[in-house]
């Protein structure tokens, strides 16, 4: 974590309400160092756009401070904040050509004509769109428009760029290409980026850190691998990646492992994450690819569960098997398609288990 003084962007105890009744953003604390690519990820309505709009200056925080480079920007109007922005619908001005769109931020900054043209061409070059300078936005494809929107947000060399679901309207392949281009550009230019998406793959592949939003709060702020492997609560565990959950009661805590008694009566091993005491209800979470079906690969004293194979799906690189475990029939495991891998058959009874550190006991 970066402390707020050295942070480039910081939210300090920010709250926001539109109607005076419901808090859309509740107590937001966040700080970003310069040059970081941070993604806000969360379900619809969780307040991501609202946060971005407060940062850009289009919404005012009901409470709290937003700091940019150490100074509060609460009272600075949007056009003086010098923050580049890319909108979901691109917001390219339809009555201007691509070049005029790009020249706009330079014009309002009273930059001379020759310098303007040079900067515009350079910015278009960054996204390989020099040939389209004379076109109108309506004459461009979605991907091209997005590239233009991106270069328009960068042309006046802002230090901070905000992007609100910029790739939301594009098809998968184009999205992947652009994801790559955006991260590359951001790192090359050393700009600080706040990126909003509700696509978790996008968040994981692009970001330095991801802030998972839910219910107006940041549920977890961490690097992608940590987020995936060490979710701090059951919301994050559920939201990021595929996940199996089992409900039970904490029976015993032994240092960094604990024993959980499931509602079905079975006993399993887990790592305690946000449980405090024995007897508390918990939801344990385990990734499908961390489940072992080979008893010999587990520790001697590891607890195992009985499972019935319900469905076996061949997916090429992996096998995906649905099991009935501890009374729940949506338990999924994934196994690698290796020559010696067992192919389970529906109806088969097997025994499953896992390393204690792969199974996290979270809040119920």
């Amino acid at each position: 974590m970066v402390d707020n003084q050295s942070a480039f962007v910081a939210f300090e105890r920010v709250q926001k309400s539109y109607d005076g009744e419901v808090l859309v953003v509740k107590d937001l604390n966040l700080s970003m160092p310069k040059g970081e690519f941070l993604t806000m990820l969360g379900p619809s309505g969780s307040g991501k756009t609202t946060c971005l709009m407060m940062l850009a200056g289009f919404e005012t925080a009901t409470h709290g401070d937003i700091l940019l480079d150490g100074t509060s920007i609460n009272n600075i109007p949007p056009h003086k904040r010098g923050i580049g922005m890319v909108f979901q619908n691109y917001a390219l001005f339809p009555h201007m050509t691509v070049a005029e769109n790009l020249a706009f931020p330079l014009e309002v900054r009273k930059i001379g004509k020759s310098e303007r043209e040079e900067k515009v061409m350079r910015a278009l070059g960054m996204v390989q769109m020099q040939d389209f300078a004379g076109r109108r936005p309506a004459q461009l494809s979605g991907g091209q428009q997005q590239r233009i929107a991106l270069s328009r947000a960068l042309v006046f060399e802002p230090e901070l760029v905000l992007m609100d679901e910029p790739l939301g309207a594009l098809d998968k392949q184009l999205r992947e290409t652009l994801q790559f281009e955006i991260t590359n550009l951001a790192h090359e230019l050393g700009i600080t980026t706040v990126y909003v998406t509700h696509d978790q793959t996008e968040a994981l592949t692009m970001s330095d850190r991801v802030a998972v939003f839910d219910d107006g709060r940041i549920q977890q702020l961490a690097a992608p691998d940590e987020l995936y492997e060490k979710p701090q609560n059951s919301f994050v565990a559920q939201f990021i990646g595929e996940n199996n959950t089992l409900d039970g009661i904490v029976q015993e805590i032994r240092g960094d492992t604990c024993i959980v008694k499931l509602d079905s009566g079975d006993i399993i091993d887990a790592v305690p994450v946000n449980i405090q005491a024995v007897g508390e209800r918990t939801q344990v979470s385990i990734r499908p690819e961390r489940v072992e079906i080979d008893r010999s690969r587990l520790q001697e004293d590891a607890h195992t569960l009985k499972a019935e194979v319900l469905e076996f799906i061949y997916m090429g690189d992996i096998f995906r098997t649905r099991l009935r475990v501890a009374g729940k029939d949506d338990f999924v495991i994934k196994t690698r398609n290796a020559p010696d891998q067992r192919r389970l058959k529906p109806g088969e009874m097997i025994e499953i288990g896992w390393l204690a550190q792969d199974c996290r006991a979270l809040d119920a």
């Binding site: 850009a56 200056g57 289009f58 109007p77 949007p78 056009h79 003086k80 904040r81 010098g82 923050i83 580049g84 922005m85 909108f87 619908n89 917001a91 001005f93 339809p94 009555h95 706009f104 931020p105 309002v108 900054r109 328009r152 947000a153 006046f156 905000l162």
Partner: protein, 551 residues
Amino acid sequence: MTLVLAADGRPLKTSLNRALRRQKLRALMLIAPLLIFILVSFVMPIADMLFRSVENEIVVETLPRTVATLDGWDSESGQAPDEDVFTALYFDLVLAAEYKTHTRLGSRLNYEMTGISSLFRKSGRSVDDFPTNNYTDVIQAADTSYGDPAQWAAWMADDVVRAALPMTANIYDAWAKMIVDTEEDLPIEEVPWDFVYTSLYLEVMEGADPPISLDLSTVAPVTLRDQFYDVDKDWLDPEVWKIIKIYSPEYTNGYFLNSVDRLKGPEGVEVRPDNEQIYITLFIRTMIMSGSIMGMCVLLGYPIAWLLANLPARKANMLMILVLLPFWTSLLVRTSAWKVLLQQQGVINDTLVWYHSTWLGQFLDPIFMGFLNLCYAFVNVITWVWNVLNGIWGGTDGLYMDWAVAGFERLALINNQTGTVIAMTHILLPFMILPLFSVMKTIPISYLRAAKSLGATNWTAFWRVYFPQSIPGIGAGCILVFILSIGYYITPELVGGTKGVFISNRIAYHISSSLNWGLAAALGTILLVIVMGLYWMYDKIVGIDNVKLGG
């Protein structure tokens, strides 16, 4: 390309066309009632109006012989035509008086020269009393066959007689037709009237061979020219004859010339005397006032449309109801309400008078006065430039003068151009707001945000980004308001007084009071052409594709 065949062996194209034709026919039947309605209630009246504005058959229909003989008269001679023309006029007028068409002709020609109407009415009454019965008596006395209707009918059916007496045959035919048409008698039972005998006399005197020879050299001739002169001296005025000659063709551009304050002289187009010039001023005034109304509507409507498009739905709906409210009350009621508000002893003036008596008014009046005079000076400069540019529109015509000159006396807000502009702006405002709103509704707020995030101030963002995108709405609203107001009639009639009326009020006058439909049609046609011209210009400048009436 190979010809693709359908399953039954016909070319696919033919089959497809046949299949589509039925669909098209059905579609056409669905819109047929509308098409017929439009044709009957819109296209045909307009075509009729266009026709009426040039149509002028009445002269040649009523006075066919006169018009034909008048060809030989030189209108520059400064003399009235000679006896031939008056003879023709005599025949025409007797017939016209029987058909009672001479008064209509009189009114028609009266548009071109006052006095002709009464001239024709008087002459129509007296033409039967011309002493041509003298001829009749002499001819009937010479041979009793000439007094026999059946004999006349027999002669007039005989080609030899007709060839010998072409004019008499022609006059007899016209008389016979008239007898059947107006008296519902049979020519074979009626003795021809005096003018038929007149014709016979004239032809015989010129050496034609009557069926039974006649010696008429002793008869004292009746000079018809003098007869007409006795009825009214104006018949010897060459100006009257000039008018008749100028308006004798079946089609005329006279109405149009009249519409632009010109008249048709014998040497060509002439400008009317100053005191008769009204239409060009009226046209210009109509345009300028419609322009001001349009401008006011843009100024007042734009912010409201903006609010409508950007307020939360509930408030926007409420506002929309307020905008539409005027549509729910009668136009007359609204206009009358303006009368109540604006008149000399009306609400606004009473309030102003009260306000000037308070200390606030005493304090602010001098400041306000200075401001008003500034405006007045500004308007005067514009007026002056305008006058210099075309030299037609003189004076500020009260629109602004009233405000400045009246000072803090009671303002003349009604029965002048101010009244018309105020009331019409109010009435036409929704027509500006609605298209503006529908365009603004489609401009996402994110454009403004994008502009601001790029560094534009609120004003720059509005002016460079929002405003250009709302232009289609402004265009649509302006076209709508301008075209509606240019043809508006009721409101100017009620609140416009004499100075604040439009060309349409003049058209209405000609249709219902002066009954000069040709002129009304010509004025209407000019209005139509102006509107179409403006539309065309708008298309060239802004592009009609850029007009959006709905999202």
